[in-house]
Amino acid sequence: MCLAIPGKIIKLLPNSSYGLVDFNGIESKVNLELVKVKKNDWVIVHAGFAIEKLKEQDARQTINLINKDGKNSK
């Protein structure tokens, strides 16, 4: 089960290890205890947990591939 998709942290929930993450228009509460992040950082999320921080450029690249926009940076 390697499903993971990139999202942007739009809000850190105070006094907790959770944040609100936006996945291209779908927002979800995500467990951030495995990463050191701040608001507006991009993360890749697996099974409700952020497992790695992403550079914005890389996140957008993955999203474009998922959205089949045809933008291929390689």
């Binding site: 089960m1 390697c2 205890e33 990463v35 409700g48 890389d58």
Partner: protein, 344 residues
């Protein structure tokens, strides 16, 4: 995209001989089949599937154990794929009809947020399935007081076992993307084989194949990272710490492989009050299950080692189909048999 394919074709010509690459992550298996990548590769480049499907490599004993716990009235929470895997008696899904309380979740977080599951928190057992990617999530809920039956596995030793018990020649590995995001790159050096960690879009996989062929042509046996946007050299140190705090590494049995040294995650003594294998020892050790004759015919163990293609199994697509599966390779969306069936 065409550039990559052209380069692959060119390298394949230059290499001339047959090359066997193994992808070891179930999500790669699915991505490759979904996008028809095998078809567009040059004829001397062969792609085979490895043991990358956590449900598929889980021992039948563990499956029977969790079903028995459910039948004994203990609420069981699991990831979706596990529901339909046939046990020797029945599947978890069928146990619901016998009164068992079984819940599927997409994330362990639902244990704390789902209004039906939350009240059962103290008494439930979470069936922990998955490789290194999913193990930290289970570690997290153990620290929050949830009892877990762990069949989590440390993926890398299986790659070692594949090379050591070499019945098939593997020239290179497409390494798992998100497992590597957790564990980093250093373990893979031990394998002394060409390896590339790949992302999951078809472009990622093709790029990884290109990089592998370059290595093979130049006789190199390095570990390269195509998925740099997510995977770092050291991996996710925080996640590794969390796994290490809650779990210790033990030798466990993998379906089709038998025991693989240092390949399983079991709860540490410190957390044994949340270990379902200890808490429910009486039920589990007393369990004697008659092996089902149907299950004996299942060749999932050979499929996950890449020894046979799903189509080589007599049962494939005849008596074994996603709606009526006999073994886990046909149940899981990442199982080689299920993937082959869906994208025929």
């Amino acid at each position: 995209m065409e550039k990559i394919l052209n380069k692959i074709n060119q390298l394949a010509k230059e290499i001339k001989k047959d090359v066997t690459l193994m992808e070891v992550c179930g999500t790669h298996t699915e991505a490759i089949a979904k996008h028809g990548l095998k078809k567009i590769l040059p004829p001397n480049i062969k792609l085979i599937s490895g043991p990358g499907c956590p449900v598929c490599v889980t021992e039948q004993r563990d499956i029977d154990n969790i079903i028995e716990l459910a039948l004994q009235g203990i609420p069981v929470v699991t990831y979706g794929d596990m529901l339909k895997v046939p046990g020797n008696k029945m599947s978890l899904e069928q146990s619901i009809r016998h009164g068992a309380k079984v819940f599927t979740v997409y994330s362990t977080e639902e244990i704390f947020t789902n209004p039906v599951i939350k009240p059962l928190n103290k008494g439930l057992v979470f069936f922990g399935i998955g490789f290194d990617t999913t193990t930290p999530m289970t570690a997290s809920i153990i620290k929050k007081g949830i009892t877990v039956y762990s069949t989590h596995k440390n993926f890398f030793p299986a790659m070692k076992a594949l090379i050591v018990n070499q019945k098939i020649k593997i020239d290179g590995f497409i390494n798992p993307g998100h497992v590597s995001a957790i564990i980093g790159l250093k373990h893979y050096q031990q394998l002394k084989l060409s390896q590339v960690i790949a992302g999951f879009e078809p472009e990622d996989v093709l790029m990884a194949i290109l990089m592998l062929l370059k290595q093979i042509k130049d006789g190199q046996k390095k570990v390269e990272n195509q998925y740099q946007r997510v995977v770092t050299n050291q991996g996710n140190v925080q996640a590794q710490k969390l796994i290490n705090e809650v779990f210790e590494i033990k030798t466990v049995y993998w379906r089709g492989f038998g025991p693989i040294p240092d390949s399983g995650y079991e709860l540490r003594k410190k957390y044994q009050q949340f270990d379902a294998k200890i808490k429910y020892r009486k039920i589990l050790t007393g369990l004697k299950i008659k092996p089902s004759p149907k299950l004996k015919l299942c060749r999932c163990g050979e499929v996950i080692k890449g020894l046979i293609d799903p189509a080589d199994c007599r049962l494939f697509s005849k008596s074994c189909q996603p709606e009526n599966p006999i073994g886990p390779c046909m149940v899981s969306r990442e199982g080689a048999c299920n993937v082959k069936y869906r994208f025929k």
